[in-house]
Symmetry: C2
């Protein structure tokens, strides 16, 4: 695949995801709730998780509507987690994607409620009534994968560890466990939800599980690197906050150069997994792994 073709695909799918979010995040929830929900998710983010869903679905010949619903659902979970994570009782952050955070704009109560409603909406989007758009067994499968990655064993559990680890010196194993849950689980679930929309054989499923684990961890290692190397303006969020909050990171644990090497190793592992997958159309997944590691914000 030519780089230009990949970039065109990324831009096309980012627009398609934005349009699907526009359509499925309703404008009319009462008392300002809809406004807060839409503010928190309709902001033209990078949409990495949706891109992973769509690429994994394409690689396994999945149905488009199911994959787009899965893409929107994971982005809703991601967006709600940022809204709650930014709140004063958590990271107390005022800037996100270059805009005031949701609680700064709408108040804490509305930010909490909008996040809660967005988690529910994710499962609503996955369960369209009737089963013409998405077959019912696939609806159930997607709900199960998403719930497990978002909950205590995944994202929420990782955030609890994050919260408890401020000021502690974690070893690499504990840091990896935290990052795999906090960020990795939902990224891996994005890949697997996309694959669940298609027809992967056992070998492809196993390879995509490994690919998802590798890029999930790589993403967070790179996040740790960017937090110390980039300015807030580039990131669109407050830079240097890991050090400010005295949080353990890959950079604080192993230094910047070793963290960079580790990110490249994880990218190589993601590529190796795709090579083992038996999938003939995994070029976009491969380039997405590069994108995760080479991103600058």
């Amino acid at each position: 695949m030519k780089p230009g073709d990949f970039e065109a695909w990324v831009r096309r799918e980012q627009l398609a995801v934005e349009a699907a979010l526009e359509a499925w995040v309703p404008p009319n929830p009462p008392a300002g709730l809809g406004e807060a929900m839409r503010y928190g998710v309709l902001d033209g983010g990078k949409r990495l998780r949706p891109l992973l869903v769509l690429a994994a679905s394409e690689a396994t010949h999945g149905a488009r509507e199911a994959a787009m619903r899965a893409a929107v659902a994971v982005e809703l979970i991601h967006a709600y987690s940022l809204m709650h994570d930014d709140m004063p009782c958590m990271d107390n952050d005022v800037l996100r994607r270059g805009k005031p955070t949701v609680h700064v704009r709408f108040g804490e109560a509305q930010a909490m409620l909008a996040g809660d409603a967005m988690q529910a909406l994710a499962f609503e989007v996955l369960t369209p009534e009737g089963d013409t758009a998405v077959p019912a067994p696939l609806q159930a499968r997607l709900c199960g994968l998403l719930a497990r990655s978002a909950g205590h064993a995944g994202m929420a559990g990782g955030q609890a560890i994050d919260l408890a680890s401020i000021g502690l010196a974690l070893n690499e194993s504990a840091l990896r466990d935290m990052h795999r849950r906090k960020t990795g689980a939902l990224l891996q679930a994005s890949v697997l939800m996309g694959a669940a929309c298609g027809q992967p054989d056992a070998r492809a499923w196993q390879a995509l599980t490994r690919y998802g684990a590798a890029i999930g961890l790589a993403f967070q290692v790179v996040d740790d690197i960017l937090d110390v190397t980039q300015a807030s303006e580039t990131l669109g969020k407050t830079a240097g906050k890991d050090e400010h909050h005295n949080k353990p990171t890959y950079v604080s644990l192993m230094g910047l150069a070793a963290a960079r090497r580790h990110a490249l190793e994880l990218r190589d592992d993601a590529h190796a997994a795709l090579a083992d997958s038996g999938l003939t159309d995994a070029a976009r997944l491969s380039l997405l792994a590069d994108r995760v590691v080479e991103r600058e914000h």
Copy 2:
């Protein structure tokens, strides 16, 4: 059905629900998250929503495991909503079911995360892997009903209206809309999720929808009444807080006597719906409607 038989059934099923919660709310989520989750839900509450699920499933000859999973899922959603609702940015309540609220005991960040994790866990409980315990199409149906009742069109939307209506004089129509969403939607979903586990015909489904709407609203009318007539010790939560927060209620709108009459009318409507349902085994649902209206806490 003799009253004693009903009371024995209630106690038996409360214990069964407690045991299922014990089994399905894991003790081991990291960094204290599991402790906060279990504190927030394993407290021997009234379990009204699970009782509605189980009674509706029995009345429509539903499978036991599916119904118990649905019962646990709605209780998890209910419990998480209380945890978030009690937080300082919402109702700022320090007492719930006679105990310090979750954020008082574990901190605000942990209360928010535990609530988030419990919403995800509800959908996890509804989607056991493989489809032997619950057929996959029923998993999808239950997830869809729960998501719609918990989200912007239901509970979260009702809470947003509640938040925005402090100090306002709502008319009855606006107050009813708020209560139907905030409390009614999840109570009605409890009935319908139970029925989805069984084999209701269209007439029974319609009747149970009406029954669920009637008891859902009745519950909140009675809540408004109890808030002014009972002491905190009886309620196990802070009494008088609607007036304290200057919230519109059925009592402030129509007075105590009229609110009581309205609750009885709604109970009668619930009974009438059951009489129209064609179901031959709806005695427990009928007695649960009485319980909703006659409860003293």
